[in-house]
């Protein structure tokens, strides 16, 4: 273990001396975060507004509650305009609204909707929207929230009656509950949570560049082999695992320092809001562990340092894009929104989203996912590194 620290200290000295750690770990992400933040900044100035059409072909109690809930959803914030049309309308007539005439999405409440719900029959609420975007996601999320509340109320009524409840007034009361309560943005599905603009770009670029920073440390094993010093290290009186551990410690420290500097700097300079420090720390640790595992795989199986550098850079960019570090992939909808969770980046961003306004415990799922990434990829990396530790 002592030797691992000695190796880590030597590597840190080398990285500080050649300044590469500063450039990749701090200067580049800070600079890019500043540029992105000032040029795009689309979510900070959120000013979310959307116009929804409701085609109420039903006109019943539940439909009315739905429309009321939707209007209340946007009330006060003046972010959502709801236009309702109660006359019968062909679905084909709605679609143009959603693609170019100022309506972002339309809810179509079919005839018999309220009756179906009140008599426990399946009911269908259709959301028609364009190909994606925030407004469409919000519309879908609102409808899903409405549907889940319906289901909850139905279960409550069914449970009461199955347990022998005979009070008609209570049943009626419970049925009355089978109407949507006002829905707020915070009620929306967690997967659609995104960070505010400056924080989003600061966090996205921090996790993106973390992979490059960590790559420095892990790939230095291949540099040692290329330089011939690996033979000396392997001939020294220590276990070979100490060499790998030393590289891991160095990468971890480098990653941690660069993340801390970035977090402090973006908070002070750009006004990024990272959230509870302990929660952020846990996410950073999880992020570094996952980056170590993934970059370890590359270092373990690459034949040369140059090859490892190319592979890991490519991987870092792909994972970064897919994980939504440059733009909020979750709001794009479709398969990308789900696919992003195969990357640690998405879990890191998700964890920060969960942490925003929440408490430390809210990041546990994301931290768990990140550590799991690290564990699985680390095990695979260990196989490759064992093979790679040859003179």
């Amino acid at each position: 273990m002592r030797q691992a620290w000695i190796i880590a200290a030597k590597d840190l000295k080398l990285r500080v001396r050649d300044r590469s750690a500063f450039i990749v770990g701090i200067i580049a992400p800070l600079g890019l975060a500043a540029i992105f933040s000032s040029i795009f900044n689309p979510i900070e100035n959120f000013d979310f507004s959307a116009t929804y059409a409701v085609v109420d072909q039903d006109g019943g109690l539940v439909a009315t509650q739905f429309v009321g809930g939707l209007e209340q959803f946007g009330a006060g914030a003046e972010i959502i305009k709801v236009a309702t049309r109660k006359e019968a309308i062909d679905l084909a007539d709605v679609e143009p609204f959603t693609s170019g005439e100022g309506v972002d999405a339309a809810f179509v409440i079919p005839p018999g909707f309220s009756d179906a719900i009140q008599s426990d029959r399946p009911a269908e609420l259709e959301v028609i929207s364009g190909p994606g975007g925030v407004a469409a996601s919000v519309a879908v999320a609102f409808a899903e929230q409405f549907a889940s509340e319906m289901t909850f109320a139905r279960i409550a009524v069914a449970s009461y009656e199955s347990l022998g409840g005979t009070d008609d007034r209570l049943s009626a009361g419970l049925r009355a509950l089978a109407t949507p309560s006002p829905v707020s943005l915070e009620d929306l599905h967690a997967a659609n949570k995104e960070l505010a603009g400056k924080t989003f770009y600061a966090a996205g670029l921090a996790i993106f560049f973390l992979f490059f920073t960590v790559q420095f440390g892990v790939n230095s094993l291949l540099d040692e082999r290329h330089a011939g010093t690996l033979r000396r290290l392997m001939a020294a009186p220590m276990r070979r695992s100490s060499i790998v551990l030393g590289k891991g410690i160095m990468s971890f420290v480098l990653g941690l320092v660069s993340m801390v500097v970035l977090i402090v700097a973006t908070t002070l300079l750009f006004g990024a809001e990272w959230g509870n420090p302990l929660g952020v720390f846990l996410l950073v640790v999880g992020g570094i562990v996952s980056a170590l595992g993934i970059m370890g795989i590359v270092a373990g199986f690459a034949k040369t340092a140059e090859q490892a550098q190319n592979y890991s850079s490519m991987l870092a960019v792909i994972l970064g894009f897919l994980g939504g570090t440059f733009f909020p992939v979750g709001q794009a909808g479709g398969i990308l929104a789900d696919l992003r969770f195969i990357t640690p980046h998405a879990w890191f961003m998700r964890g920060l989203g969960d942490l925003a306004g929440g408490n430390v415990a809210d990041v546990f799922p994301a931290v768990g996912a990140l550590l799991l990434f690290g564990l699985v990829t680390g095990a695979i990396a260990a196989l490759g590194l064992k093979k790679g530790l040859q003179p």
């Binding site: 030797q3 020294a236 009186p237 220590m238 070979r240 003179p391």
Partner: protein, 315 residues
Amino acid sequence: MTARVNVLVCRDLRRSFGDNAAVKGVSFSIAEGETYGLLGPNGAGKTTTISMVTGLLERDSGEVFVDGKPLTTISVDAKRGIGLVPQDIAIYPDLTARENLIFFGKLYDMSGKALKDRVAEVLEIIGLTDRADDRSDEFSGGMKRRLNIGIGLLHKPRLLLLDEPTVGVDPQSRNAILESVEHLSDQGMAVLYTTHYMEEAERLCDRVGIIDLGEIKAEGTRRELVQLVGQRDRVRLEAGGSGEAGVGALAGLGYVKEVSVRDGGIEMLVENAGAWLAEILAKVTAAGVTISSVDVEEPNLESVFLHLTGRALRD
């Protein structure tokens, strides 16, 4: 007379890479204060042998003992007694000479004043005291080589392995390196020195193992090895005219062995060439061969290698 203790014992080392058997049953031992040379051409199996002896490379079979302790790739204790000077320069160019030495010293559990003093001592030995705090990427090739050796010496190993330490070194630095190595065995260190330079092996080594195609062909002191070729001098005559006629004239002489035409000249092994040279020249001239130069070479390790393998060291 007290028998010297063996610091290194290797028994029947074998290692293959796929179908290629790089080392085929190499055995040798080195006593304290002894310098043992592994002499062979490139690809003979020297580096593979050293890699197994240092525990860098897993062996297919065989045993290695350092100071009586068995050594494998996962040994820790036995490795404390070994100092390695790899063939390729293995230093950190961004660190100074002193920082390089301190780093490797710490890996060998050295610390504090003892480490500081030893670093200063080694810098003196390798002649880099004046440049101790310069980054090693500013050093000449020879200086890097000397630092490479200094790192191997730092922890006062019982066994020092030098893998072709003078490859690519200028004559001045080469001489400095050889002088350093000469002093090491005086300090009781056992030294394993691999080289394909015959003159280095002759100068430095108490005993030499001649290795080729993964096998030790012969082993012993220089005198013992030379006796393998029968103390015969190698004589080469640069000849004009028919070399074959000259060979015919010499073939029947009892003191001339293995006479042949090679590269346009006549080569032969002669017992005590000094005594017979005049007669040889007279017979060749009488056979109609014009002699432009005469070269007499006493037996050396090169001759031994040629005798044992049928080819020159640098082939």
